[in-house]
Symmetry: C2
Subunit: 271 residues, 2 copies
């Protein structure tokens, strides 16, 4: 199992892998969206999970960012550092899971890098597209907006499979004032949206996954539902959870009480 033999296999699935760079021809009147997300052993997954599920999740995390901007995914680059325990069967399973999700979302494998590390490490870059000037920002929330989430929350222990909300994201273009995905818990992510928009927010109620607690929904992260705001007069799909108001940027309340903007911090080592 050499670098060239892995690339030779992947070339069956990609028209791009022969050169130093993938060459992409942009379409007229489109903006491009770029995002990248790590998937690291013992941080985002453990090696006892199915290889195909790890591959699915590695791509799904980045697709969720494309969904949050209202875009369509176009291309992905997959960087993979193999661990000493990975064998060719694991590698096949990983790419099978990743490429299945890529096909179903019309995301083309356009390149990547291969290396090795003590912890298996994957970094997936996705390039998406959206009609010029139509991308959904975090910074557009306005006082009086209703706040929505795309589904029930509960954090990573209750959300085994990530389903990127690509269709919903596209429906929100021209309707939502602000949008992002919930990766680090509702409290921290809503704080970020409010700070970018220069507004405050009150949460009235939080839809929960079966068995999940409010604290898990607020703090645990990895829900990958969309969090967005729209004028109260607009009809938009989703579950209303509260409203935007004037106030100190990023100030939050839940059920009338002050809410601290704490959630999952990706730079902190587990202790």
């Amino acid at each position: 199992m050499t670098e060239d033999s892995i690339v030779a296999k992947l070339r069956r699935y990609s028209r791009f892998l022969g050169d130093d760079c993938a060459v992409i021809r942009p379409r007229p009147n489109e903006d491009l969206l770029f995002t990248t997300d790590f998937s690291i052993e013992n941080v985002h997954f453990t090696r006892d999970q199915k290889a195909s599920g790890i591959g699915h999740r590695a791509l799904a995390r980045s697709l969720s960012d494309i969904a949050a901007m209202g875009g369509k995914p176009r291309y992905c680059l997959v960087s993979l550092a193999l661990a000493p325990w990975t064998n060719s069967r694991w590698i096949d399973g990983f790419y099978r899971g990743l490429l299945k999700l890529a096909r179903s979302t019309a995301t083309e494998l356009a390149g990547g890098d291969l290396s090795h590390s003590s912890q298996l490490t994957c970094d997936v870059m996705v390039c998406g597209s959206i009609a010029r000037g139509q991308a959904l920002p975090r910074s557009g929330a306005k006082p009086g907006d209703t706040i929505y989430v795309s589904g029930p929350l509960g954090g990573w222990t209750h959300k085994p499979v990530i389903v990127p909300r690509l269709q919903l994201g596209r429906k929100l273009v021209g309707k939502a004032n602000a949008c992002m995905d919930i990766s680090d818990g509702l409290a921290l992510d809503l704080y970020r949206l409010c700070r970018e928009s220069g507004v405050a927010a009150d949460i009235q109620s939080i839809p929960l996954l079966p068995g999940a607690t409010v604290q898990q929904a607020l703090r645990d992260g990895e829900d990958y539902e969309l969090l967005y705001t729209a004028a109260a007069s607009r009809r938009v799909p989703g579950i209303a959870i509260g409203s935007i108001r004037q106030g100190r940027p990023g100030a939050l309340t839940y059920a009338g009480k002050r809410l601290e903007p704490k959630g999952y911090d990706h730079t902190q080592h587990c202790t």
Copy 2:
């Protein structure tokens, strides 16, 4: 030192970091180039090296791929998984080295991801641009072409600083028939160029860095010089090292003797 505090610092250097994705507006009549490269502790660098040098090298590896296509760098995404030993001074140094090279090559920091790992791990994606249809492929080498390298070789032990050959790459557009950068040793990389082009090659002589051996130039990798071919009648800059001929795709000779296409394989763990 939290995720948000690192991002807050980086926003001084980037107009992109507030949203889930960076939004890029392509220019008309340009193709875009995508490439990504890992820089991993104990694989590509060791922690006793200067943080600024590690940052420089992490970006330089990807810029070298843009150079190999004849392109101009435009944007980069920097994914960084911090190790337990990294502190805020190290992080500042890393970004200082990376951003200095970014500024000097007109590469804008457009996003990235932050996480943690036992080995410090960085993955840098660069998006470049080139006039439509002008990208230099690996696959265009023709029998009779002269083979060139952009400078003396010797592998990573003799090449402490990577200088991406961006200006040279742009000069080769419309002149070179095939081009790539030498990351895994001259033998393996020339084999790849010849296999993509369906040709064979004879190397007559190899320019060496002071103290380097021919074996190091052929096998060690991490030179990041350009390797390219052009019709013998064309005047192109560079050092001629041999010529392309018809033959089994990828067949190589050096000084009249058969040369095995072996070099550095990034998927193999050191033993």
